[in-house]
Symmetry: D3
Subunit: 224 residues, 6 copies
């Protein structure tokens, strides 16, 4: 039975860095996949620069297509400033996505050192509460590299308990990230081809495969 998978990112590239290989596995399996990027991704760093805005949105779409995802929703909440919005306003957009797409599986960016990530996770936590008739049965967080690993150690709850073998899709993940020219940084920064491969191979050795991506399971409900 095919899954309906909704991936929440705070910024374009979160979803590739954290789970590009897993997204490709879902599309390969025939699952319906939507990626929803909650912020505009550039308004704070490049205020008023429509050029950059368009460039980044184009990169995001191309990256998604490389992974087989055409359903890419790019919302326009202000990047790096979700903490300035009322929580209910972030809830509203997250809830609308869930109401529209009716996913059974939700992936959300890890609530890490980045406050936008925390805000998106808080709203996903609200929107996926297991009330009767909740359509979402499984919630997982993924770790966008160059963020989750930089969370202060005594505060983090990132201890992965879910792993996906991406041996067969790692190359597509790397290809997808190559579209993100604006986010590319030279090795040994985590955002480049070499670092993404090393990251996948590292997590691969952790679970006995050539390449893997790690996740934290938040909740899984097996319906009757």
């Amino acid at each position: 039975m095919n899954r309906r998978v909704l991936v929440f990112a705070a910024h374009p590239d979160d979803e590739i860095l954290g789970m590009g290989g897993t997204i490709a596995r879902h599309t390969d399996a025939g699952d319906a996949v939507r990626i929803c990027c909650v912020t505009d991704g550039s308004s704070t760093q490049y205020a008023g620069n429509l050029e950059i805005l368009r460039q980044k949105q184009g990169e995001a779409r191309k990256a998604a297509e490389t992974l087989g995802v055409s359903d890419y929703v790019h919302l326009d909440l202000p990047d790096m400033r979700l903490d300035t919005l009322p929580h209910v306003d972030v809830n509203r957009v997250v809830e609308r996505q869930i109401a529209e797409f009716q996913p059974d599986t939700v992936y959300c960016v890890q609530a890490d050192v980045n406050l936008d990530h925390q805000a998106v996770f808080r709203s996903v936590a609200v929107a996926t509460r297991p009330v009767p008739r909740q359509v979402v049965r499984r919630v997982l967080t993924y770790a966008p590299t160059s963020s989750t690993e930089w969370t202060p150690a005594p505060q983090t709850w990132w201890q992965p308990n879910w792993f996906v073998d991406i041996t067969g899709t790692l190359d597509r993940k790397l290809e997808a990230f190559r579209h993100y020219r604006s986010e590319w940084r030279d090795w040994p920064h985590p955002r480049n081809d070499r670092a993404l491969r090393v990251h996948a191979e590292h997590w691969g050795t952790v679970v006995g495969y050539d390449a893997a991506e790690p996740f934290v399971l938040i909740r899984n409900v097996e319906a009757g």
Copy 2:
């Protein structure tokens, strides 16, 4: 020696769902009890609807009276939006309640998946700091059902260490909640007669009684 008990709720019904039976025990014992509901309880969900506002406030008072509490203070901070208020403004109303009522025991809603609950707890934590001559000697959190149990597992610190036998007051708790028509939801939602009974009996079996309510002790100071 009788206690002076101040119960902080974020929304009307928090205190019944979480500790209705314990409130009745306090009033039965002759303790002075005040319930303080920090938000108006409806302004976000039913914006501008004075009818609903009055209905909910009426429900809250009747529920409190059922438990023997006539000292019910209903403040008007905006429900579901405490995160938009400066922390000092929430502190101020909490501190005023403590200054006025002079409680030795404070119960606060658990800082769970609901951001209003987190805001109220943060302010209670500030207002009850154990400075010299602090009147508050004991702080506990209670878990309003349909909220605390829906907190993401890796983030929660809800591990109850305090339990109250409510065998003798469970019926009054259920009766009190029946006043909350606006909050009632059909089983298997946690907000109805059957679910509240199951909840109390479950926690009862945990500690060897017919019915119980769970709490987390934040701090207790035994004065000389």
Copy 3:
């Protein structure tokens, strides 16, 4: 695709109290299920009493059959004394079970206040390490009532993140436990018909179903 499910218990009845409804779901689904009880279940409490030993083993088999499980392996490590055995000796029996049965899914009793439970979990943790070609892909812990809930709050890591709807199998769970006459205790003890029903209904309301069982996911690996 059918699963191969291996359930590790320390004592007869652990598996019914903690996950009887889920076991029945697995057998209903056509999954291959083995239950392995690691200790003899009575040698410490009823030393030298072969009568009791046979009675309890008979109860265990009947309970398992009620859930559709005929593959019940009863080992004879000394009950309440696993802490006196070398860790490698417990590892050996656990590893042999896994080597023989080749499960993809392992359920283990939660490492709670009971030291036998801790010992079994420690060995399951070793035996299911995700080395290359590890057959076990998923490890979960279940909470036998009258044990996990009695773990000291500041030490426990029991925060369930996995839930199974057992609406359709709760009756069979209760029927299975009725075979355990030697373990039955009167309400409000957790080991009787009424308490097991309350427990299941409580966890049901937590996730929006009539009845459920809670688990902690230790590790899940999605193979390519």
Copy 4:
């Protein structure tokens, strides 16, 4: 209503270092207090030296009497070697104490870097499980200085949530410890008059009193 208080120590002096002032408060209040020291306190450090054994037991009794406790039970499990005993054997002695003394309140040494402390706590956790008709309603751990504070930071769960004002009994605590000549160490070691006073005053400032002792509440059950 007077309490029945049972204090478990692993070694003579644990109870003075950790809660001497609180013990004196209990006896002042007319509570029935028993101290039970689980190990002989010297067999490993001073093997075969009966002289030392008698000296330490004498010190322990005099210290207890200074605090108003004549009911001092000195068991003879091997000190520094509780990890070599079967868990059930430690359980047995702890359970017998509880059966005999029928305490409503139990204090246990914190499960810290000292393995004997962990063993005693494990058995207290078992013996005080909240089964129906459990007489023990409250379980707290105390921190013997020169042990709990030396636990590796990432492993400890020592975060005190319970404090007792010992302004009126600190002098008696110091007097009691003076009997422990064999355990006295020069400042800045924690086991001497000056260090014990500093410790009490430090915890006093934490909660607004001249002197205090910290505890962790494990469980409190308020009966109906």
Copy 5:
């Protein structure tokens, strides 16, 4: 090799209460030390009172000079209201300090019950992320007394793993705090000469010295 040390405080006196003795050790060792106080320290408590503002800033400078620090930067973000500022605005001032001063070591006030402390820590966590060529190699948090110890026990991550012997500088710490007349409170409040001495001596006994200050290491990177 001398260090470049940047100390972030939220309010004037945080740095003295938490690490005055350690600051003096750094200046004694010839390290370059800057203290940066992020808020004006009085605008909320004494709104519009320029007199107080100047008094407190004068106290802060004199206290710093007593410890050998002339590089005291007093920013003017609103005290007790950092939660009302966009996170990026706090980031900006923290990042500017780091860019200007080029520290290898950063001390930050602990993210405790005080929300301003949490806000400063969040921004320090962002500004010190270990990207390639990050100048900051070591990040520690310190605990300003009358704040960190009052954090609700179940929420705090204050478990010190780093200690500094301040036997030789304790007197200067006390002298420095004497300049803070506006913050002085009578014993047993933690903000006075006696309490600061007790605090230092308490932590001294924890690690075997006459006086010490505790810290939590957030991250240390040993460069090649």
Copy 6:
């Protein structure tokens, strides 16, 4: 000033897998380094096989020499069976090493899923308690690959807060491990050349270097 560094391993190869690059940095810096392997490393897996025993000890010495360490102490406690020894017996050998070598810095294998690792750590924790005149000022744990990463997620406290750039010594770490023919496993197992390089590069990207090793700081005391 040169350091005196004592590295505790439970089994030969722990120290190379976890911190081979850091050991080489210490010897390059002129620090005195001793490696102490607490178990014989083969008696359980290869009982009675003296050949293997000698082979493994030879491998260990050659590996150590490759890193510049000639002071390699190989004790003979039984491998995979430290849980069967009295805690005081493991303490004794650890304490003797510290008394003899007088290290200021101790590295210990992480207390992870391997019970021998837990036993060694427990004894190191006892032997390095910060009593007055304790010579050990710094204690860190390292993570031997193919062990620490396989610890059940909800139990582990492995959250590294200390990182060492091993760009300059990675090649020597790999060369050292090549001596361990008996422990080599094919990729994607973590014990081979490729996996060790991936591991080091992964942790390198986490902190901005080409290669790094991660640690957890247990305690650091800066003496006056």
